[in-house]
Symmetry: C2
Subunit: 222 residues, 2 copies
């Protein structure tokens, strides 16, 4: 899958025009929710939605790179998610493998974060358990679980220890909750919700989130 | 300070009328932000706002009790907050002591959660380090810190181990972030933001939050 050049240009142009001089987050979290509801609304099986989330993901990473964002964490799937029907599970696992390959091909410094001691961790992603490359940092959460993550503290450190603190989290699909997304890195993150489903991603969603973020007060409790 | 009977009745009546048969959360988190901005907007010193947050807090707890909510966690102050100017620190510490005394007098099963090994933990709250009473459970976070909390895992369990998972978090003052509020208990909580400052609390704010919560999908990742 290759992202069309025109979408890339559109994104970069829209964002740079809209965001202007506002403060840009260093690290953005992405919760790409609503794939199943998107598919159902089109009369497709729920499992068909995930494949339509790949191009938006690549477009978003490209937009982050254009804005100078240093790090992006993307909620792929969780250990709870794999309890869903097999057709769904295979679809979101395949989508994660495909977007990872594309990102790596584009020079992203990719890190897969999740329980790799389980069969549910896709074999094709094992090579991303160590970050390499010097492009924009992308952390892809695959077979992730918040409890697995923080239980690392019992043995010295978070399992997600390589993931830095988040400045902004953007969730598509209307849900106003973190759903277990990186609880420790999220403690001071501003939370922006897009009501549209993730496969309906439009550049303006992200531009509006970045613009909104630039207007938030940052006190960190001081 | 005693909550006026008329406000109590107004609250109960409004809530019960508005909420109707919707699903009620078991455990609600409260982030009562905006006290300083409220004071400044009235030409008062920033530290003057906290005292005006006590009556709203008591009113809210009464509303929770009327709705059958079992547990409420209230963000009092953090270890970061105590780095603020002394006048502010003394004011919010005094407000926490006063609301705790009032709640205890009203039969609330109160638990103070925070770093009590520090001088910043108010002495008058030490008696609430063990929960007693059989009324509605209220967890008051005083000299709390998310890192202090999760570092408990290094020694066996969260420091906030007695606080259960949150269903709904309501934040006043417009901020769309958790600001370190109980990160582990917040992983699946729905997050509702009221733009008004906390001392401007009105029963409708909470009724709308409860009503909104009742319409949210609860999947817990499944």
């Amino acid at each position: 899958m290759v992202l069309g050049g025109s979408l890339k240009s559109e994104l970069g142009g829209t964002l740079i025009a809209n965001v202007g001089k506002s403060r840009v987050p260093r690290h953005v979290g992405i919760i790409p929710d609503g794939n199943r509801r998107w598919a159902q609304a089109r009369g497709l099986g729920k499992e068909k939605g995930y494949a339509f989330g790949i191009a938006p993901g690549l477009a978003l990473i490209e937009a982050c790179r254009a804005l100078g964002i240093e790090e992006v964490s993307v909620y792929g799937f969780t250990k709870d998610n794999v309890k869903r029907p097999s057709a769904q599970k295979l679809s979101f696992q395949a989508a994660c493998v495909e977007i990872a390959r594309e990102m790596a091909a584009q020079g992203v410094a990719l890190l897969a974060v999740g329980d790799d001691q389980s069969d549910q961790f896709p074999h094709a992603l094992r090579r991303f358990l160590t970050r390499c490359g010097d492009g924009i940092k992308v952390n892809l959460l695959v077979n992730y679980d918040w409890e697995w993550d923080i239980n690392g503290l019992r043995h010295g450190a978070l399992m997600s220890r390589e993931v830095t603190r988040l400045d902004l989290i953007v969730r598509w699909g209307g849900g106003r909750r973190l759903s277990g997304f990186l609880p420790v890195q999220s403690v001071y993150a501003d939370f922006y919700v897009v009501n549209d489903y993730w496969p309906n991603f439009r550049p303006e969603h992200f531009a509006e989130a970045i613009d909104w973020y630039g207007k938030q007060d940052q006190t960190l409790g001081g």
